[in-house]
Amino acid sequence: MINPADLLEPLAWSQSTILCLLVLLLPLFSFIVIAILPNTQAKASAWVGMFMTLIASIISVHLLIAGWQGAGIHSRVEWFSFGHLPPFTVGVLLNDPALLMLVVVTVISFLVHLFSTAYMAGDAGYKKYFGFLGLFTFSMLGIILADNVLVIFIFWELVGLSSYLLISHWNHKESAIKAAKKAFIVNRVGDVGFIIGLAILWSQFNTLDLEALKVLMQASTIENGQWIAGAHSVSLPWLTAAGICLFLGAMGKSAQFPLQVWLPDAMEGPTPVSALIHAATMVAAGVYLMARVFPLMSIDALTFVAIIGSVTAFMGAIAALAQHDIKKVLAFSTISQLGYMLMGMGVGAYDAALFHLFTHAFFKACLFLSAGAIIHALHDYAHRADIHFDAQDMRNMGGLRKYLPFTFIAYLVSTLALIGIPFFSGYLSKDALLSGAYAWADLMSERTLSWHYLVPDLGFITVVLTALYMVRQLLLVFFGDFRIADERSIEANIKVKDVPWVMKTALSILALMSFGFIWSLNPLNHSLSWFLSALKTPTILVPGMNGNWQNNLVELAEHNHMQVTVISVFMIVIGGLVAWFIYRPKGKYAINYFSRQGASNVWQWLSFNNWYLDEIYNDFIIQPIEVLSQKLQLLDTKVIDNFIDKFAIFNIILGHLTAWVDRNIVDGLVNFSVYFVGRVGLMTKSMQGGKVQSYIALAFVGILIFIFWIIW
């Protein structure tokens, strides 16, 4: 038996881990500095934030280069302890995924800072914005570095907080505040699951340190349907429940079905925030969490993850089809892509999922920042043309490639990456994912026809849909005529101005990262990617696990690879062609697009309203809870209080009753006896009338009584 306390000895700090801490604390420092900066120094706040994240990025890159493919580095200290339980530790656990995430987060954060200096210029909440960006970066880095599931959860929540604060940046906008609230609360729903997951692990192992958990998990056994770890045992389903519960947390943060509803609304935040938080980093935290706890997930839990992931991928893609808001399309696309990643996790394609996380982080950030650039340009345009229109609505765009050529290129590159065209990064990662999924279905179903094939099938359908909606967006935004100018007949000399160079810098770096050769020397074969070959899929350590399962999976995936590539490229082509056919410039759809209202048929409505999830939640969860809370208020005031009041009134009545009894019966008795004595006194006094005869009479009465007494 393993004593958990032995696994929790403090581990010395090395140079790398101290640097990690530095990376972690720099954004926090930025937050604090900005918080205490006076309001007049708003400009300085951007510089502080940028400077800090730049340094953090440089250190991260250094760490990545130094630590890549090294043994994981783990340093920790004791944080606090409970009674005689093993101490609670906190520390830094560096491994390859963590190093990569470190770079991704710091770099994208830096680029977003850079982009924001232009995008947010002149905003009233400029200082606040950069402060919260610092806070967010800090929390996100915390998730990445933490060696302890509880500490991950702590930063998990802080990330949620900074997301809340950034979504509600424009806090005079009702919709922004509501979106922020929704994001936080929906995330909380997932977090409850996360907490339960923590509780299950804690009650089995009495520690939440990841490394210790792995050792203890491996040492735990299954006997007679009981999952036994040391002295603790619970029934077996809790083993799977632990995995599913942890995944619930990921579901919230990564916007998986059925908790994906918050992400489209979160687009109310400033666009760079959407790029950083709601596309590249925070939403990927769920995937990263799954990667961190991957060895602790049982096969059943992973299957659940795979199903949810594939369903979300499909649903998100469908929902993206009919949107008119440029950011909404990207938001649903993000949901869909996150579904891919989690599907990858679920099917055991750990490396592919992480790979997709990284590639997606860059091209989606690029897409969002491009969208931000477009919105920025259109805002500027609206200001100069002195008209009001929704700068995010694609119905008001069109033909923008003439005005924003650089943005168009960035957008194009990242779109191609997103749909998975060969030579772009998305192709590699998506291919890996799909082959993994296909292999998993083969393995699980043992090559018989079973529902397991639905998972990769949904993935393939999503490929078509992705091509469809992205090409649609590309066509509607950059091709055709500039609809708002045409419709409002704006003078031709007022043109959309190109965006400033800072934005272009950020876009170019991100777009560069979307090319396949960055990630693999052979941009056609993901298995040759330096990334995938370096990343080792950790062994699942859950007891009762067939050790060959993962190996078989890898073999099958290799075997399926070519098939999958052909099918997916074919799918993309179909999707692209269909999109071109429907949404081509001068086509029927494009011509009538400006005056298009929402959607025209049931399917479009379903898509446009994101499967009516919001309405369903509103009607079946939020409203009932509100009603319940009102009713409980009534219960409290009308029933319990009423009961108490009635009880009090009853007591008062009882009091009056006893008072009456007191006055009339108890007091009455006393009064009566007094009265009686008084009367007797009066009587005897009257007998004492000074009349001798009366005395005699009474004397005889006495004698008589005496005689009677003697005789009888």
Partner: protein, 171 residues
């Protein structure tokens, strides 16, 4: 023989109770006084029937001759003579009646319960005046003397009390 004694007894006792009743119920003092005389006379007769001739004579002399006269004097002295007669009223009637009747009932009951057959003694000479005289001066001499003294003292005392010239009343 039995009848000879019983009939006068019933007559005299009835008369005695009758006169006593008059005293009780009359409002006129003088009627009361004269009824008292009647009662005394009847009681004297009863004494005779009970073979106490000396006591009967004494009764006549002292009561009828002395006390009643004294009482009538008292009546006269304490009331203004008017033509309406000397009227007095009574009170406590109810209480008095209850006490008297219940006492009578008690006594009557007690008397009935006594078995007088057991105390029958021997009868003696019918004339016992002589015997009284002898015994009065022999065996009861001391009480006789004391009675005399008591009478004297009472006489002196009553005249002192009723005397006019007491300082306190004058002042």
């Amino acid at each position: 023989m039995v009848v000879l004694i019983e009939i006068p007894f019933y007559i005299f006792s009835g008369l005695a109770i009758l006169f006593a009743g008059v005293i009780l119920f009359t409002k006129n003092l003088l009627y009361g006084a004269f009824s008292l005389v009647g009662t005394f006379l009847c009681v004297a007769a009863i004494y005779v029937l009970a073979q106490a001739e000396f006591v009967a004579v004494t009764q006549l002399m002292v009561y009828v001759g002395g006390i009643v006269v004294l009482l009538i004097f008292g009546v006269m002295l304490t009331n203004k003579i008017t033509d309406k007669g000397i009227i007095t009223s009574s009170y406590n009637r109810f209480l008095g009646a209850i006490i008297a009747i219940s006492l009578f009932v008690v006594l009557f009951y007690g008397i009935l319960k006594i078995n007088f057959g057991a105390v029958k003694g021997q009868s003696a000479d019918m004339n016992n005046v002589n015997q009284i005289g002898v015994e009065l001066l022999t065996e009861y001499l001391l009480p006789f003397e004391i009675a005399a003294v008591v009478l004297l003292i009472a006489l002196i005392g009553s005249s002192v009390i009723s005397g006019y010239k007491t300082k306190e009343t004058d002042e």
